[in-house]
């Protein structure tokens, strides 16, 4: 059932890809509310209400009826903009990831690869920390491979690309004075795959974090501190046959998973 993907609100122009502007997330605040879609304000209102509810009630206790009521719209209206509660969670992830990107900006300027990795990952954990108590319920929505909120889903493609790009930047390091070549770009036979592999490892760390019962998730922090320099060192050693073959296996795997993700 429901094999056709809808994308309800702005779905004019049947077959085309809707590249132009269509996806007007939210207008500035509440100023001009006409050209970018009259319902954009409503959409933004519902979304903000939902995110706030997620923030201080968690996933389970957040109710579609509650969101609608708090936003002052009808239940059905919330569903007009978001196909499901799960899609709301997807937006939640997107928001977190935008925050991650922002927090990580400074870390990317470090000259040392291990340091960049370490700080980028810590930045992600910083961003997620307020939600740790709800993480268990949130991850439930993201885990099923067929879920829209899955990191591998087609719906998450944009967020995924941004996240992978973040690790690409971390690998490449800061650009020198204008025109200078990057000093620390790591080479190696599987360099093109590294951003995605690091992102995958980051997902693993996130899973670890979800289960981490230590106060303030200190153990996750420690894991990051240990793993970052080790990873940086390993990257320099990908020429060694043993590591090389493991990396090749991982590469093939990631390719297949990517295939799966783009299908749905």
């Amino acid at each position: 059932m429901a094999s056709h993907d809808s994308g309800k609100p702005h779905d004019h122009s049947d077959g085309t890809h809707n590249d132009g502007n269509g996806n007007g997330k939210h207008t500035g605040d509440a100023g001009r509310a006409l050209p970018p879609g009259r319902g954009a304000a409503t959409r933004a209102l519902v979304l903000e209400t939902a995110l706030a509810s997620f923030r201080d009630q968690g996933y389970e206790r957040t109710t579609m009826r509650g969101i609608a009521k708090a936003a002052g719209v009808s239940l059905g209206n919330a569903y007009y903009y978001f196909d499901s509660k799960e899609h709301l969670v997807q937006e939640f992830y997107a928001a977190i990831q935008a925050g991650h990107r922002q927090r990580a900006a400074e870390a990317l300027r470090s000259p040392d690869l291990a340091d960049r990795l370490r700080r980028v990952i810590h930045a992600g954990i910083d961003e997620m920390t307020p939600y740790h108590s709800f993480a268990g319920s949130f991850i439930k929505v993201a885990i099923p491979p067929t879920a829209a909120a899955s990191p591998f889903s087609r719906e998450s493609a944009a967020a995924r690309d941004t996240a992978v790009g973040l690790f690409r930047d971390a690998l490449e390091g800061p650009a020198g004075p204008s025109g200078t070549a990057r000093p620390t770009a790591p080479g190696g036979p599987l360099a093109p795959d590294l951003p995605e592999l690091l992102w995958l490892a980051y997902l693993g760390i996130t899973l670890f974090w979800v289960y981490d019962p230590s106060p303030g998730q200190a153990r996750t922090r420690q894991l990051v501190d240990s793993a970052a320099p080790l990873t940086a060192r390993s990257i320099a050693l990908t020429r060694i046959p043993l590591l090389r073959s493991v990396a090749d296996d991982l590469h093939t795997l990631v390719s297949e998973l990517r295939l799966k993700g783009s299908r749905r």
Copy 2:
């Protein structure tokens, strides 16, 4: 709410641990139906019906009302024996794990550690394979750390111990002719933790399997074939400082996770 854990059916003797017989899972078939608890037959009936429904409809499409109807009992009666749909899934996991244990028996007789590991893990995948298409929804129930069906939950303690024991057996290898010392028991500084670590790795492989889109999950099979000998080799190398420190980190982590699991 509902902070008190019930364990409804056979809950006589308030404070004691209920060690004697209490947990009569199912009587033989339908013969004598008196001493082991009059409702044991009903419980078994509901459970079997539920497992069958899981098997050929998956988790989502299986309905508590559907189970009750198919079993010929009322909805509330099903809830009398199983606190929630999730607890039914937990029994499902237990059943799979029992099947795993059985399938793995032969593999444990191999004299080579890598071979034992490989075959034990393959046996587990064999057991799960019929459910791969539903695995996404099943794992959703097991992922939240607070879930009863979580591998780390107190409710899963028995199943967890059995699974860890399976890997302990795989590590120790077959006993020689009666009275002979085991030939291949691996030593090393963190030997006591190895069973649990292997079980943890097995969970990771299971997660991989859930996401594996390759036909027949061939890639998971290949991963197992690659990882098993590599793991066996690594176990012999735990004296090397680098691996040793990683192992120590993992040890502390596992200890903390175990704490978390026993709380709830």
